[in-house]
């Protein structure tokens, strides 16, 4: 039976094993909410028990034992602060297990605590998130408890007409007290067999409502569990890594395509033309003896010569685009070379105590190259400052010009740059108000 053929499903809903499991989960939810609510009172209550057991409470007047509580209350608070996270973790584990067993909902465990030191225990993020779940459990237990109540007492009320003939078969005229039944609208009492059918009807109504209440309660609970008891940060990180990995793959594929295109339309066609010209020149020179057409041959060789030089220039540009050889000497040299090729004067300051990872140097170089090219194309600037500084484990590349501004971080150039930077966990900040100036800061890790 599918879920959407209405009345039959609604009638069957209370009598499925799922409903029973939900009822158990809801009852346990109410129990744990009660336990969580009573946790802060545990210390003082134990104190009272101790005083009562030793007889102090009956012998001493209240003011004499009051100082004990002045001590017990802060002690409880301190204990709660220290123990909250580990208790939260344990309670979270229990609830994840309950959800897995009873609701078939599997919530992954958060990463384990890094160490057993007090600092790590108190500042344990997943532990405190589990505490948050515990506090949320109290309001969540209200629909759960209500649903479980309707379920259990609905079943009980439905059975009243069965019990009546069994236990109320007294001789006629015997006067008895009414029997009572609990409903959400208060207790109903009856003295007649007919009245038990009213109770049974109320029971049926409760039973029909119960699955939906319990479902609402458990659905909210499961949502809270996924948020607070699961490995949230890690999952986010995984998503982020998946995204950047996909971008890295796309970028690599795009780069290969561009490379193929550059070679195909550049050096390859030049070399093919060069071969063609040399082939024609060979014919003009003839196999042996005096050349049949020396002038044409000379012209063709000159053409081929020029073609060869152009092919070389093409290849040189391409090679520099793949990996500038000067980058092997370090970012400082590479950026200085880059600056000398810029149409706008560039002041370069590189302050690096040691060399970052080669991949980071490459990313930093291409960012600087792209930003300088952008500035040359769009900014109408008269000077550019290009700086690289190291702070801790991060490296910041700054390109600032005195141009007209208005650079769009969402444009194809800058967003492409941001994608490449994100792959190595870097960040880019663009400030470019209309009218200028433009400043772009790129922060990169020193090692991948």
């Amino acid at each position: 039976m599918t879920g959407d053929n209405g009345p039959m499903t609604a009638l069957r809903a209370p009598f499925t094993t799922l409903a029973l499991r939900r009822a158990v989960f809801c009852v346990l939810g109410v129990v744990s909410a009660a336990a969580i609510l009573s946790a802060p009172a545990l210390g003082p209550a134990l104190g009272v028990l101790f005083l009562w057991a030793t007889g102090a409470l009956s012998d001493q007047p209240a003011p004499a034992v009051a100082p004990v509580f002045l001590f017990l209350v802060p002690l409880t608070v301190a204990l709660l602060v220290v123990l909250a996270a580990p208790i939260g973790r344990a309670m979270g584990a229990v609830h994840r297990a309950l959800a897995g067993r009873l609701l078939d909902v599997h919530v992954d465990a958060p990463p384990p605590r890094p160490s057993r030191r007090l600092g790590a225990v108190v500042s344990d993020g997943p532990g405190w998130r589990a505490v948050g779940y515990g506090l949320l459990k109290v309001p969540l237990a209200i629909p759960q408890g209500y649903g479980a109540f309707c379920y259990v007492f609905g079943l009980a009320n439905l059975s009243y007409p069965l019990w009546w003939p069994l236990f109320r078969n007294h001789p006629a005229g015997t006067r008895l007290g009414p029997v009572w039944a609990l409903t959400p609208f208060g207790a109903i009492g009856t003295r007649t067999f007919a009245g038990t059918f009213l109770i049974a009807a109320a029971g049926l109504a409760m039973l029909l409502v119960a699955p939906w209440l319990m479902r609402a309660g458990t659905t909210l609970d499961v949502a809270a569990m996924r948020r607070l008891l699961g490995p949230r940060r890690l999952a986010e990180r995984v998503r982020e890594l998946q995204l950047t990995r996909a971008r890295a793959i796309d970028d690599a594929a795009a780069m290969m395509r561009r490379l193929e295109r550059d070679l195909h339309d550049g050096a390859q066609i030049r070399l093919a033309t060069l071969a063609l010209n040399l082939g024609m020149a060979t014919e003009k020179l003839g196999a042996d003896g005096p050349p049949p057409d020396l002038a044409q041959a000379r012209e063709l060789v000159a053409l081929a010569h020029r073609g060869a030089k152009e092919a070389l220039a093409d290849l040189r540009d391409l090679v520099r685009g793949i990996h500038p050889p000067v980058l092997d000497n370090g970012l400082g040299d590479a950026l200085a070379t880059l600056a000398t090729n810029s149409a706008i004067p560039v002041a370069v300051t590189v302050d690096l105590p040691d060399r970052p990872a080669p991949a980071i140097e490459t990313v930093a170089y291409f960012c600087a190259s792209e930003l300088l090219a952008n500035a040359a194309k769009h900014s109408r600037a008269t000077r550019i400052a290009l700086g690289v500084v190291r702070s801790g484990e991060r490296l910041t590349v700054t390109v600032e010009d005195d141009g007209v501004g208005g650079a769009d971080p969402a444009g194809p150039g800058l967003s492409g740059l941001a994608r490449r930077i994100a792959v190595v966990d870097g960040r880019m900040r663009v400030r470019s108000p209309d009218g200028g100036p433009t400043r772009v800061d790129i922060e990169l890790p020193t090692h991948v």
């Binding site: 295109r261 066609i269 093919a272 033309t273 071969a275 063609l276 082939g279 073609g307």
Partner: protein, 215 residues
């Protein structure tokens, strides 16, 4: 002989025009994209069109598609498709109907002017010119299935040259042997592969290509 050239790289196009004019061809049109090629061929009805496979706007296989259209619409126009790399699949598509008046060469081949002009003339007069590179692919692919293993190395050379579209005389010149020896090799190859012997060069190419899986 009248030629239309379609090639998007200007220097290559100019080189081809120069080469073919020099060799006595009449270049009716030299264009840079597939649409211009279609209208030029329709307008001038050349003997043969030299077509670069990769042209604007998508730089994928415009030239090939234009070549297939031309072969369908104007069967008398030979098409010589050329590109910087060869794809066996392209060759298969090009040869799909009939292996007549069609060629598929690497661009590198223009360097050997005499061979290139020979191939172009063959295609213009209804023959076939397949790049040795394409034939090599097909032969390697058919090595196990087509029984090529039973051929002697010399017979395999002859088979490759046949597949390229060369005549017996052309094969004899390429291998520096006499025409009679070539004929003996050809007969032996057809017997070993179980192919019906055929007289015309074109039907022979078709049989060989079908056999190795290219047609």
């Amino acid at each position: 002989m009248r030629v239309v050239i379609a090639e998007d790289a200007a220097m290559m196009r100019e080189g081809l025009v120069r080469l073919l004019t020099d060799r006595g061809f009449e270049v009716c049109a030299a264009v840079a994209d597939a649409d211009a090629l279609r209208s030029a061929v329709a307008a001038t009805v050349p003997d043969v069109a030299v077509i670069d496979i990769r042209m604007p706007p998508t730089h994928t296989d415009e030239g090939l598609r234009a070549a297939i259209d031309i072969r369908r619409d104007q069967p008398d126009v030979g098409v010589l498709v050329f590109s910087q790399y060869v794809e066996t699949r392209y060759a298969t598509r090009l040869l799909a109907d009939r292996p007549t008046g069609v060629g598929y060469l690497l661009k590198d081949r223009v360097a050997d002017v005499a061979d290139f002009v020979d191939a172009l003339t063959r295609v213009a007069s209804g023959g076939t010119a397949l790049d040795p590179e394409v034939v090599g692919h097909l032969m390697r692919a058919g090595r196990d299935t087509a029984g090529l293993a039973s051929l002697t190395p010399r017979e395999r050379e002859v088979l490759s040259l046949m597949a390229e579209g060369r005549s017996n005389a052309g094969i004899a010149a390429a291998l520096v042997i006499t025409a009679g020896v070539v004929e003996k090799h050809v007969a032996s190859i057809f017997a070993k592969l179980g192919l019906p012997s055929s007289d015309g060069d074109n039907r022979r190419v078709l049989a060989v290509l079908r056999h190795v899986g290219g047609g």
